[in-house]
């Protein structure tokens, strides 16, 4: 028997999509039964009460969680989000209900052995409820009490060789797309750099010294499967500088219908026979392709590497060989001044271990600047807006490049600096008045 009636939530137990309600109920039951005789370290009825308080929110149309306060593990400034229920008497099982962010492995591959270990730990010391994964990428353990935080951390580090992820005003857990591990489009090893930078910057990740949060994300190519360009202060997007490799035979096979366009992604509808002219050449945004006499040509100099043609004909077209990353800065959600997309700051850089250029010429100068001049709760993108892209260029010590802008300014309100103007700014009004009477 359920501890709380959940008539509203129960309506979410039908329909085809997996029901989180059924799943929490399952966990609640499992805890109630406790077949394995576990000595639960937080209330057995945590899941019951979680359902109870959620049902109450469904009734009231409002959340019943309160601000967290500062809870965490010793010496770390992040990794735990404190949370308390605002109806603790009614739902004692979730009165204290903090989440822990566990740094996910790059690429999010797992062995079951490892996962099962985490399950045992979290069943024992937490609610048994998780997010696989949080929006930033972490494994999220949802709901435990303050005394368990250090215990979980101790077991994570000692038993699982596993650290917490980020929260607060620090580097957040970096994340990446599957990349070279399973994708033919990947222009660099997203997992390798993601792991390296996560580990290299552990101090920045755990001990807040920043004005606000900071995120890295790594996309292997401009398809952006980890959405770095929209939600990371530094977005790394794979690209190449040379030519798209063309397999002329495979082109023929697409045209002939032997190969399915776009890897079969449109198989759910009859779109008619594949038309390379209409579907590839005409849609190329730079119109740098030509298909004539059964031959496809690309004027690579004009290609912007948008991926469209490669996506449509992955067996015929392949990314170039001279690969690296394009780096964009400043993406973020709308708080405070509106959302920002990443702005291109480095058109191309090689992305090879140990990534010295990326660390020393990009990340660290930017952090120094932001830590020096960023205001409290000012994201990098906001600092860029406030001080201008020019300032970023100075910080990076690179030459201004038209690739950094979509278009030049349309207002001529140029802030010339005194040393750029012949003769400087000091002038004598009386000298001027000799030639120009009042």
């Amino acid at each position: 028997m359920a501890k709380h009636e959940t008539p509203l939530l129960s309506q979410l137990e039908t329909g085809p999509w997996p029901s989180f309600v059924s799943d929490i109920k399952r966990e609640a039951e499992s805890r109630a039964k406790n077949e394995k005789g576990i000595d639960y370290q937080i209330p057995v009825d945590a899941c019951e009460d979680l359902l109870g308080v959620l049902e109450l929110s469904y009734k009231h149309g409002r959340t019943h969680w309160k601000h967290g306060g500062i809870v965490g593990v010793f010496g770390y400034g992040g990794g735990v989000i404190g949370r308390y229920c605002d109806q603790p008497e009614q739902f004692p099982g979730v009165a204290h209900f903090h989440t822990m962010r566990v740094s996910q492995p790059a690429g999010k591959f797992y062995t079951t052995e490892y996962l099962k270990g985490l399950c045992d730990l979290w069943e024992f010391r937490g609610s048994g409820i998780t997010n696989m994964h949080g929006s930033t990428g972490d494994i999220i353990f949802i709901g435990t009490t303050t005394p368990q935080l250090e215990e979980v951390f101790y077991e994570l580090t000692h038993t699982f060789n596993q650290d917490l992820g980020g929260s607060g005003s620090n580097l957040r857990t970096p994340s990446d797309c599957v990349g070279q591990a399973r994708c033919e489009f990947a222009c660099y090893d997203t997992q390798a750099i993601c792991h390296e930078l996560t580990n290299y910057y552990q101090d920045e990740l755990h001990r807040p010294a920043f004005p606000y949060k900071f995120k890295f994300k790594f996309d292997g190519c401009p398809n952006c499967c980890v959405a770095s360009i929209a939600r990371s202060d530094l977005s790394f997007i794979g690209t190449w500088r040379d030519e798209i490799r063309i397999d002329a035979e495979a082109v023929k096979a697409y045209v002939g219908g032997e190969l399915k366009p776009n890897g079969g992604a449109h198989a759910g509808r009859d779109w008619g026979a594949f038309d390379i002219q209409k579907e590839v050449v005409d849609l190329c945004p730079t119109k740098c392709m030509r298909y004539a006499d059964g031959k496809l040509e690309i004027n690579n100099k004009e290609c912007t590497r948008c991926m469209h043609c490669i996506n449509v004909m992955p067996r015929a077209l392949r990314i170039g060989n001279d690969r690296g990353v394009t780096i964009l800065a400043g993406a973020k959600a709308p708080i405070l001044d509106g959302a920002q997309m990443g702005t291109l700051i480095v058109p191309f850089m090689k992305a090879e271990a140990p990534y010295d250029d990326i660390k020393e010429k990009v990340i660290e100068p930017i952090w120094d600047w932001w830590m020096e001049e960023g205001k409290n709760r000012e994201r990098l993108g906001e600092l860029m807006k406030r001080q201008g892209l020019q300032r970023m260029i100075e910080v990076l010590g690179v030459d201004p490049d038209p690739r950094m802008v979509q278009e030049p300014r349309s207002n001529p309100y140029i802030f010339w600096k005194e040393d750029e103007v012949e003769g400087g700014w000091k002038r004598d009004i009386n000298e001027f008045r000799k030639y120009h009477k009042r």
Binding site: Q11, T14, G15, P16, P18, S19, F20, S22, D23, Y40, Q41, S57, G61, R62, T63, W65, S103, P105, G107, K108, F109, T111, T112, Y114, L115, K116, L118, C119, I129, T130, M132, I142, E150, E151, Y154, T157, S175, Q180, A181, R182, E184, D189, H195, Q202, H206, N223, A230, R231, N262, G264, H266, A267, R269, W271, A333, P334, I335, D337, A339, M341
Partner: protein, 382 residues
Amino acid sequence: MAFVSSGYNPEKPMENRITDIGPRHFEEFYPPAVKANKGKWLYHEILEPGVLVHVSETGDELYTVRTGGCRLMSVSHIREICEIADKHCGGYVRFTTRNNIEFMVDSKDKVKPLVDDLMSRKQDGGCYKFPVGGTGAGITNIIHTQGWIHCHTPATDASGPVKATMDVLFDDFRDMRLPAHLRVSLACCLNMCGAVHCSDIAILGYHRKPPMLDHEYLDKMCEIPLAIAACPTAAIKPSKIKLDNGTEVKSVAVNEERCMFCGNCYTMCPSMPLADDVGDGIVIMAGGKVSNRITAPKFSKVVVAFIPNEPPRWPKVTDTIKQIVEAYAKGANKYERLGEWAERIGWERFFEACELDFTHHLIDDFRDPAYYTWRQTSNFKF
């Protein structure tokens, strides 16, 4: 329950302390076929919805079966995932950037048993546990946030509306009939942890009442200057308030006309709650994308200013989304993302095609850049 120590000694927190070790190394977790072929993949193909094959230059093949992940999952559920992965996949599994679960096998004959197994597993109420799908030109899992299950600032729930929406969109999770990818995301408040600002369709929790002021406690619980600084519209001013008992306390005053309900003050100050049963609800946004394919990434646009919260199934929200999806399916060209379609036909046509009302709320009036969203040409469609 008795406290069981992990070995941690609160008296000597530094004893044996291990810190700064980061995540586990990814290579430990690669399935053998991935390890052997990393960086050597030649091409891929979607064999059926939810089933991909990647072919390596070594000749190796890797079959991936993607299943819907309700990312809010219990350890029992994860253990079941592990059980399946142990049975079919040599003990490896992966999660996608959109919280789906990927089971990988190294030969084609292992695919069908795996798919059958996955599709056969159901929850008590009949929901699939592991629906196969989410690939290609269809709808995959909804990226979402905490909502009423854990967060303190939401204007709507997350998991509930997501479940309701995925139920309605389920056929498109299992099929690939759309012109292109269609990504749905949800964020339960304007902080937009779900990064809904660049989704084809975004479900966004939104407050519509200015913060209440818990004057008696405000100065005790909050740093007033931080609360003031938090407001993007400078609507908050310091103020002295006389309580009913006559004592004067330091507090704040809100210029309600200038409030746009972002809740940023509440993030800084628990004595300024916004949540309200009828004030809160959902904004629908549309037309965003993040890929650089053909066109640059785009922000989503507000297309429905407000839909009340209707737990447990948010029918008006799901109906609206369905409407947009169907209009898009009908109107867009092959390879054309929702936002690209709207721009091609013109937003005036988008509202017509989706049968949505255009209200004054949809006109940008936030700061200078608003101007750039107005129409500065005589080119429009009647």
